[in-house]
């Protein structure tokens, strides 16, 4: 038993060391393509670290969104980058040293704070206890989903609005030239992978009620399907061809979330206060539509924003 613990300890140290090295290499590399590759690998290792910290939900999200979709977005950006030049870091030594000193100060401050809290952190973990105590009344049995969709639903609602702002922000930056080359390999892959991804999204969404999973992970899987379709040459990436339907899909998650919240307020329950007996169904409804919105938003982010007239 002790030997096993020791081995895990060595593995953990190794993971942390690799994580740090990857981060440094990604930042310091002067070649953009290599930086991005390193960043994607960094995301995957980070997912492993989350798994080791017994946070499977975050590990899933990190792998799917941080490494997977983030990587796809970075690659798409690189493809559109016409300059193809190496990065021009501020070469002035004063700037470099200044930034270095600031980062050192920051790191010291955080380390200082953390060391002072480490001895007592076990005792102060009150919040976890509160979540467990109230879990039975939340409508779901997985604590992370209970926090995201019930206890701290207001955060999640605003996060969905952040996604909406981001997708408009991409369009605000300008039009994207759609210069995709259809790749035969992808169309072969899409035939059997897309249905599988959609099925998996449905499972991950449903599983979120009692085990790791939920709307964000499911949405990321749907977006994976969308991106695959786009790469396989489907110009709409499986999204509706009617533009107003696309926009309706984008706001569906936030909209239903908000309307449920306000409806409960009007009904005398209080904003976002689900009645215990029906909490499960409200949460499921919100999560389903949020999955659709998240999947569409992320797919559109890859495509360069909401399609407009004569733009795409």
């Amino acid at each position: 038993m002790n030997l096993l613990d020791g081995l895990w300890g060595v593995l953990d140290l190794l993971l942390v060391a690799v994580l740090l090295l990857l981060a440094m290499a990604a930042v310091l590399s002067s070649d953009r393509r290599r930086s991005m590759m390193l960043f994607i690998v960094f995301g995957l290792v980070l997912a492993l670290v989350w798994a080791r910290l017994h946070a499977p939900d975050i590990a899933l999200a990190e792998a799917a969104i941080g490494a997977g979709l983030g990587g796809a977005l970075l690659m798409a950006t690189l493809r559109r980058d016409t300059h193809q030049q190496t990065d021009q870091f501020p070469q002035h030594p004063v700037v470099l040293w200044g930034v270095g000193v600031l980062v050192m100060v920051l790191g010291t401050a955080i380390a200082w704070g953390l060391f002072s809290v480490l001895p007592t952190v076990e005792q102060t973990w009150r919040k976890g206890a509160a979540v467990d105590a109230q879990l039975a009344f939340s409508g779901v049995s997985h604590p992370v989903t209970a926090v995201l969709l019930n206890f701290r639903a207001w955060d999640t609602l605003l996060e969905l609005a952040v996604l909406l702002a981001a997708i408009f922000g991409i369009r605000a930056l300008g039009y994207v030239r759609s210069a995709y080359v259809t790749e035969v390999a992808f169309s072969q892959l899409a035939v059997w992978l897309v249905p599988l991804l959609i099925l998996m999204a449905g499972y991950v969404l449903w599983a979120g009620a009692h085990s790791p999973g939920g709307a964000f992970q499911a949405g990321a899987l749907l977006a994976g399907a969308g991106i695959l379709l786009r790469l396989a040459g489907y110009s709409h990436a499986g999204l509706p061809t009617t533009r107003w339907l696309v926009r309706l899909g984008l706001v569906a998650g936030t909209g239903v979330f908000l309307l449920v919240g306000l409806g409960l307020l009007g009904w005398g329950q209080g904003f976002l206060h689900y009645p215990i007996a029906y909490a499960k169904w409200w949460i499921l409804l919100i999560e389903m539509l949020a999955t659709v919105s998240i999947g569409m938003t992320l797919t559109l982010a890859f495509m360069g924003g909401i399609p407009q007239k004569e733009a795409a």
Partner: protein, 484 residues
């Protein structure tokens, strides 16, 4: 419907508007100004509720506070929400006829209403992590709106704004992580009760201050503000300068006086005040040297935020009644700047549309062509210099008084120098605007553009100057629920 519902509606209405404006693009402008008007109505309702029934605390979802998120409305929060809603309403009416390109029009309204949502949600958040989420929504919608300026400079400024905003949020998030690890709650009041003077508290305070100083463009972290605020479309510039930086300032006030109260020593307050003083001098000097009106207005914001921070060292040493009045004066100054600066940016937008440029040297004949717009600029100038009757005058006067009372005479020097520089840049601007040109044609300006600008300028001067006493007294005595 119960009274606490007003807290929910001031956030939900603009969000609902944003969603509707996304789906029904053709009615986006109507949806935009109607929901802004309704939000402003609810903000008045909220202020009335807080004034009559005291602090409103709403545990969302019915969960105990700490497990769930709370919305928290005291006098300060309610006044901030009203300020933000009124400025947003003025800009919404103005924006209906401002955008010419279809693309800008379609993107503006959803983003604009999301910005309004984020502002009100931030002012009312009682939970420090929820504040982080609102900061994200605010930062992303604000930088996206900046990018609507369409020129290349606007895109560059918007991207820099985005990155700076993310950096600020990241610093703030690190501080929250530390606090949560130590105290196991994210609720502001609970953290304030549990807070101890230890390295963790110091680290958290410094991280939060650094992040928010970046977001409120406190000298020397103001480098991103002038390009972003001067290249955005007029209604966006107005909101950025009047409200978005003010939101970061509001958080600093909350954290400084309520959450981290045991840690805020006079030494730290003086360090902040010194940065504020430098911001006043540098911002005013740069405004005087600015070639363009919008750049002048942007640099003037750097200076005005400096004044707000200069209240801190004086609040740190004053006690009792005098301190409460000074606190009220600070809020009054912030309100006055919000209305004056938004009016100035809206007026600058009208000028830009009429003349095609905003180069200060070439503004001769403006008075003949656009008398009402020039009047707005003059009124806004009065409030920026701090002449009576304006809220800024009361704020500055009380700051001066406090500096003499506490014997910290050096702030007086900064105040005088800053005010003289402000007088110089306002009169330089008006001097050029009043220049006479023979045979100037009167352009057709939509009343929907000039009237909101005028209304905001009047609020900053006569509204907050002559009608300030009851508001000031109320803010001083019941401003914050924590009883300062």
């Amino acid at each position: 419907m119960n009274e606490a519902a007003s807290v929910v509606w001031v956030i939900s209405l603009p969000l609902l508007g944003a969603l509707l404006a996304t789906v029904w693009r053709q009615y986006a402008a109507t949806i935009g100004w109607v929901s802004s008007a309704l939000t402003a109505g609810c903000a008045v309702w909220l202020l009335w509720v807080v004034q009559r029934a005291g602090v409103q605390e709403l545990a969302l979802g019915g969960w105990e506070i700490g497990l769930g998120i709370s919305l928290y409305a005291d006098g300060l929060a309610a006044v901030m929400v009203l300020m933000s809603s009124l400025v947003v309403l003025g800009c919404s009416v103005y924006a209906r006829h401002y955008f010419r390109a279809q693309r800008q029009h379609e993107l503006f309204w959803p983003l604009w209403l999301l910005l309004a949502t984020a502002l009100n949600a931030l002012f009312l958040a009682g939970d420090l992590f929820n504040v982080y989420v609102t900061l994200e929504l605010l930062g992303i919608s604000a930088s996206a709106l900046t990018a609507l300026g369409a020129k290349r400079a606007a895109l560059r400024a918007a991207l820099r704004y985005l990155v700076v905003g993310l950096l600020g949020s990241m610093l703030y998030l690190m501080a929250i992580t530390l606090l949560y690890a130590a105290y196991g709650t994210l609720n502001a009041v609970q953290i304030a009760e549990a807070l101890q003077v230890d390295p963790l508290g110091w680290a958290a305070l410094l991280l939060m201050l650094a992040g928010l100083a970046l977001k409120m463009a406190l000298f020397p972290l103001h480098f991103w503000l002038p390009p972003a605020h001067s290249n955005a479309p007029a209604p966006v510039s107005a909101a950025l300068s009047a409200l978005v930086v003010k939101a970061a300032f509001y958080l600093v006030v909350r954290l400084w006086f309520e959450v981290f109260a045991p840690l805020t020593t006079p030494l730290l307050a003086n360090a902040l005040g010194a940065l504020g003083a430098m911001a006043v001098l540098w911002g005013s000097w740069s405004a005087l040297r600015a070639e363009r009106l919008k750049l002048l207005a942007a640099y003037s914001s750097v200076a005005q935020l400096g004044y707000l921070v200069m209240f801190f060292p004086l609040l740190a040493v004053l006690e009792g009644e005098a301190r409460q009045w000074l606190f009220g004066a600070m809020v009054l100054f912030a309100l006055s700047h919000a209305f004056a600066k938004s009016a100035l940016f809206l007026a600058a937008g009208i000028l830009l549309q009429y003349a095609g440029h905003d180069r200060i040297r070439e503004l001769s004949g403006t008075t003949q062509a656009l008398p009402l717009t020039t009047f707005v600029i003059a009124l806004a100038g009065i409030a920026l210099v701090g002449l009576p009757p304006s809220g800024a005058f009361l704020g500055k006067w009380y700051l001066l008084d406090a500096a003499f009372k506490t014997g910290q005479w050096w702030w007086v020097l900064v105040l005088v120098a800053g005010s003289l520089l402000a007088t110089a840049y306002v009169f330089r601007l008006l001097g050029h605007a009043f220049g006479h040109l023979p045979a100037v044609k009167r352009p057709v300006v939509a009343a929907t553009q000039e009237i909101p600008a005028l209304a905001l300028a009047l609020l900053a001067t006569f509204g907050l100057g002559l009608g300030a006493m009851s508001l000031w007294s109320w803010l001083a005595h019941t401003g914050t629920g924590a009883g300062l």
